[in-house]
């Protein structure tokens, strides 16, 4: 349980991926509504919740096969109860090579995780 009156200094989402691409961009944005995991089509795009932020993170490389997204603002607005849904949708930048593939791994020891640093003034 997080204490009252804190502010996040850093919050990074780590996603394990498998790729040979050296340069690419991935965006993430919060949902306006929740969706069923079974209803997702491969290229479906949900409506973004632009209440607090339009998109999160833009990365151009991986570190140790980990894609790192800066989700500090997203996490902080969740903490402040300013977002109604906590899901993120990933989106490829239109500038990426359309013939390359980036695979995210969400199994075994390679679950996504967040590392956060917050400042407590008390």
């Amino acid at each position: 349980m997080l204490p009252d009156n804190i502010i996040f200094k850093d919050a990074d989402l780590y996603l394990k991926c498998d790729t040979t691409i050296n340069s690419f961009k991935v965006f993430a944005y919060p949902f306006k509504d929740s969706i069923s995991i079974n209803d997702i089509d491969l290229f479906s795009v949900e409506q973004m919740d632009t209440t607090a932020l339009e998109f999160i993170g833009a990365t151009s490389s991986t570190v140790d096969s980990l894609l790192i997204l800066n989700v500090r603002d997203f996490v902080n607005y969740i903490y402040l109860n300013q977002l109604t849904h906590y899901e993120l949708q990933l989106s490829s930048s239109t500038g990426n090579d359309p013939f390359s593939t980036l695979t995210f791994i969400n199994a075994g020891p390679f679950k996504p995780y967040i590392i956060m640093r917050y400042v407590a003034t008390n």
């Binding site: 009252d4 009156n5 804190i6 502010i7 200094k9 850093d10 989402l13 209440t51 607090a52 603002d73 902080n76 607005y77 402040l80 109860n81 300013q82 899901e87 993120l88 969400n106 679950k111 996504p112 995780y113 967040i114 590392i115 956060m116 640093r117 917050y118 400042v119 407590a120 003034t121 008390n122």
Partner: protein
């Protein structure tokens, strides 16, 4: 998405080792419990119970007011300067100490009303800069914490005095305490300031009983015995409003700006958190004083007092997580009063001086803070209604805090304007 969350928390309280401070005493509890003295009392050691304004009269002791010949409107303005580490750090301020109306009635009764600051929470403490290694992120951060506050508690005091016998009299003061103060905590990490602001709102009622007896005598010396007891009718409670911390990107010190300025956006924060009764101050005080009239117009004045706080959580109000739990004070002074009808200009003056020692005790640390000093002052009467201007000066040294050898200089100027109320005028 199932997420594993790792949290790195900065425990920054430990970083508040004091590098520089202003009025550190004001940061304990609700602030220092020292009283606000009128200018005449400050010159005489300082002490509030014993007569120092005129012979037999203390502006700060209502039981003596019936001795006044006129109704008085009194205003006191004061200033304080403190020097830390042999003058390397110097801070000062001036402030209105009190405004008071005193109405003596038929030489038996008196009524008074005063308003003035009761407690001062002006403080500024800047911690030393620390380099904090973060093993999880694998970096080092330069961190400095600073806290500051301003504001305090105001006191509105109606008083009545009345005789008990031909030699004893008594007075009652009800002390309504109210006001608010602001606290600002700022943590600088690698040059970016994270700021949180909070507001404390105070409310409480105290009662103080004063007693005076002229029954004591020693040889041919006239003696006056003075006693006062102070207790809480409604202990002082503190309600706190805590605002959401913010990243001060535009370095304005305030939570403002549009989306690309301070974070989080001002329009996307919840209401401030209100916490009621986060601290309670329940003081008891006893003061005893003796006034010995050794020669005509010349008085030796001696006073002692013990103040302590029975509240159990007043320390939580403080950024230092501590409070002053007791204050003991003794003082010895000398006063030479003016003649009732002076013929020479020097006889229009009151002369005052004295020594004092105070000892504060901190609640958590059990630490004792000693303050010793001397004071002097004078007053001069003018006009047919005994108007009076008083000056008081006090110099003391405080030891025992994290910052030792704090030299405190105070001055106080009071002007008292007399008028005839409730006194039968002679027919022409």
């Amino acid at each position: 998405m199932l997420l594993r969350i790792k949290v790195v928390l900065f425990s920054l309280v430990a970083l508040l080792s004091v590098g520089f401070s202003q009025s550190l005493m004001n940061a304990f509890g609700i602030g220092s419990p020292a009283s606000n003295f009128d200018a005449a009392s400050m010159g005489t050691s300082p002490m509030s119970l014993l007569p120092s304004f005129q012979e037999g009269v203390s502006i700060s002791n209502p039981v003596t007011w019936s001795q006044l010949h006129y109704t008085y409107l009194t205003g006191t303005y004061g200033g304080q300067q403190s020097e830390i580490q042999s003058g390397l750090m110097k801070n000062g301020r001036t402030y209105l100490q009190q405004i008071q109306l005193i109405i003596p009635i038929k030489k038996k009764y008196a009524f008074g009303l005063s308003i003035g600051p009761n407690t001062n929470r002006l403080y500024s403490i800047v911690g030393v800069e620390n380099l904090v290694d973060d093993g999880i992120y694998g970096d080092s951060l330069t961190v400095r914490k600073s806290v500051s506050g301003y504001g305090g508690i105001t006191s509105l005091k109606p008083s009545v005095a009345f005789p008990l016998t031909s030699l004893e009299s008594m007075a009652i003061t009800i002390d309504y305490l109210f006001g608010s103060s602001r606290g600002i905590t700022s943590i600088s990490i690698d040059g970016t300031n994270y700021i949180q602001k909070e507001q404390d709102i105070y409310s409480g009622t105290m009662m103080k009983l004063f007693f005076h007896s002229k029954r004591l005598k020693y040889k041919d010396y006239g003696m006056g015995f003075y006693l006062s007891l102070k207790n809480a009718l409604k202990p002082l409670s503190v309600n706190r409003i805590s605002h959401q911390p913010f990243e001060d990107n535009n370095e304005s010190g305030n939570h403002d700006g549009s989306y690309y300025s301070d974070f989080p956006d001002l329009s996307l924060i919840p209401d401030a958190i209100q916490s009621n009764s986060i601290g309670e101050i329940d003081p008891f005080e006893i003061q005893v004083g003796l006034d010995v009239n050794i020669r005509p117009r010349l008085h030796i004045l001696s006073e002692g007092s013990h103040w302590y706080d029975r509240g159990d959580n007043g320390h939580t109000v403080s950024v230092l997580n501590d409070k002053i739990v007791s204050l003991d004070q003794i003082s010895l002074g000398l006063a030479l009063f003016s003649r009732r009808l002076p013929r020479q200009i020097l006889n229009q003056f009151h002369y005052r001086g004295g020594f004092f020692a105070k000892q504060y005790t901190l609640y958590h640390k059990g630490k004792r803070i000693d303050e010793k000093g001397f004071s002097f002052g004078f007053g001069v009467k003018f006009g047919v209604t005994d108007n009076q201007i008083d000056f008081g000066f006090s110099i003391s040294q405080r030891d025992g805090l994290d910052v030792n050898g704090e030299l405190i200089q105070q001055f106080s100027v009071g002007i008292s304007l007399g008028d005839i109320w409730f006194i039968k005028r002679r027919e022409r």
